[in-house]
Symmetry: C2
Subunit: 344 residues, 2 copies
């Protein structure tokens, strides 16, 4: 304990609903794994989403964004809830999340789906699925302008958004995806709707251009409707998927459910705090260590602990099935802590 | 045979890939069911999609659109294929389909998912699922302008599309959906991304306004990412779903796969003519009779015949599972014909 410890500043954004509960569990897990691996975390908790709206009137206070920017990594709980559903756009919790992504320029979103647990798919279909959705996160229809409400040339009321991608936006997410695929099985599937949308035709063109830098990665293309179908029909055909913001939003949630990926129920479990499942957040913390800080050993320690906890039969309500031990959010967190401690 | 028969003009558009094969089977089924019910069909076959491109240079010849407009109903096989994938937008087979939908003003698309066969979901999850996706078909990002390629204010190359809905477009599809839900279980779920997109906020606002005309229908709302997840997690929670063009494209394909709905593999089975499954087209023909021509008896005769054929264990390659009888496209068509004949 005399050697200078490695130290990181982490901004915690508990947010809404089950957020505070799962973040508190994840924080304990980070602390323990860190102490074993000689890493110190300095946590800085900030307001965000509906919680920030209620306290400050805006979904992303400047102070929160500044803290996030100055820290080494950010861990987010959950965002949104019925209470704020009718708010105007700029007063929605979700708008705070979009502003955060934009402010931090986090243009890539890695969403793994691999743990088979409580999947509704037949065992032989779901078992062994291990895929990664690389979602573009700061472009496309989420941020495109013009957007808003107005009237068309016939005086009819309209609502509209713009799906738009610039070359550099596609190129940089494509490179992340190719790099990811290279580290995995070397297979990348780019999902678009290039048979209908110009934005998708352009997407495909740029992905094909970037592919020349990665001759060792096998690139394929799939239309989004077919991808939504194939994820159910035969998810094992996929390794790494790269797609735009909105398609990635849809497909990554579908994929997480296909593998029964634990606790990946952001909207579904929100507010139902008795069923809060902290495992997704704990695994996010592991990703933060691995991809964000390069702390691979601490990350894998946490991943193994989650697996071990599941193997020991502990389940929260959302993923419970007969024969397992039903526990709450805090309890499963304690079991993960035990596993972090004992599995070396 | 002396009474004046009812007679309908049907435009057949075989299109590409497996299209001609499945259309020819569906035509035989229509003829037989019609002859039993005292209905005569006059078929008029026209070019469309890649087939039309190769023969005439355009994906929707004027003659085809005119014939379609003048007929009582249109039955389409399949559209598209690798061969034309690199064509420019106006020379894509799919563009012909969009022009047809626009030309015929078919703004509503009913996509049922109910037959459980070869589903990859666990039996207890898939069994008894019976849902209908009502998809808006002539608006949204498929048709919105501006669209195309260009450069942004930084001189970067871009590709872009516009997601736009006018009040009347939402109102009319909402009414179709409420009517559909009323005839079914009285539950309607509107799917959008109103936490992020203005076009979706407007969609939700109009759907809520139209709901006042249908106090007997129970309306709920769901975000599209959650819907993609819930369709896998617990599809039985849905009865009627209404959504926009692009979300409907994605979710209806996902839903069809969740129920293992036979032969609903437009992109997947395209070109693989050994695995052509005509049952989807036969069931489409039944929908044409029921919803298009009001010929409910003939429609149900066909639906029952398909069920009977499946119950007798016949399967095409795409939906084959052990213990069943593997047959080709033509053979399963002949089995359906037998069932049409004997089941009265
Ligand atoms: C809450 C919402 C804005 C967000 C998104 O659509 O990106 C969420 O669904 C997600 O996937 O992170
Ligand atoms: C072929 C394509 C243009 C079409 C669509 O996207 O509408 C198809 O996927 C469908 O769902 O009918």
């Amino acid at each position: 304990t005399t050697a200078a410890k490695k130290s990181y500043n982490i901004t915690l954004l508990p947010g809404d609903g089950i957020g505070p509960e799962v973040i508190s569990v994840a924080k304990n897990v980070l602390n323990l794994a860190g102490s074993i691996e000689g890493i110190e975390f300095k946590f800085n908790e900030k307001l965000m989403g509906g919680a920030a709206l209620d306290a400050t009137g805006v979904p992303l206070p400047k102070e929160t964004l500044t803290a996030a920017k100055q820290s080494d990594a950010v861990l987010l709980g959950a965002i949104g809830g019925y209470k704020w559903d009718k708010n105007e756009k700029h007063l929605k919790p979700e708008t705070g999340l979009l502003q955060l992504r934009e402010g931090l320029e986090v243009f890539a979103n890695l969403r793994p789906a691999s743990l088979v647990d409580a999947s509704t798919l037949k065992k032989e279909v779901a078992e062994g699925v291990d895929l990664m959705v690389v979602r573009e996160l700061t472009g496309g229809i989420y941020f495109g302008k013009p957007r808003g409400f107005g009237t068309n040339e016939n005086g009819e009321e309209i609502g509209f958004n713009t799906e738009v991608y610039a070359a550099y936006e596609i190129d940089r997410i494509a490179r992340i995806a190719f790099e990811t695929a290279r580290k995995r099985s070397g297979k990348l599937c780019s999902v678009d709707k290039a048979n209908v949308l110009e934005a998708s035709m352009f997407w495909r063109k740029r992905v094909i251009a970037i592919a020349e830098e990665y001759p060792d990665v096998e690139l394929s293309h799939m239309y989004v409707d077919n991808a939504a179908m194939q994820l159910v029909r035969n998810p094992k055909q996929f390794d790494t998927i790269v797609t735009n913001n909105i398609f990635g939003d849809i497909l990554s949630d579908e994929a997480s459910m296909i593998t029964g990926s634990i606790g990946m129920l952001p909207s579904a479990s929100l507010g139902a705090s008795d069923k809060a499942n902290p495992l997704a957040t704990i695994l996010s913390a592991a990703m933060l260590l691995k991809y964000g800080l390069g702390e691979v050993k601490a990350a894998e320690r946490i991943e193994l602990a989650v697996l071990d906890t599941l193997n020991r039969g502990f389940r929260t309500g959302d993923i419970y099935s007969a024969g397992n031990k039903l526990v709450g959010c805090k309890e499963i967190g304690e079991e993960v802590l035990k596993s972090v401690d004992t599995k070396t």
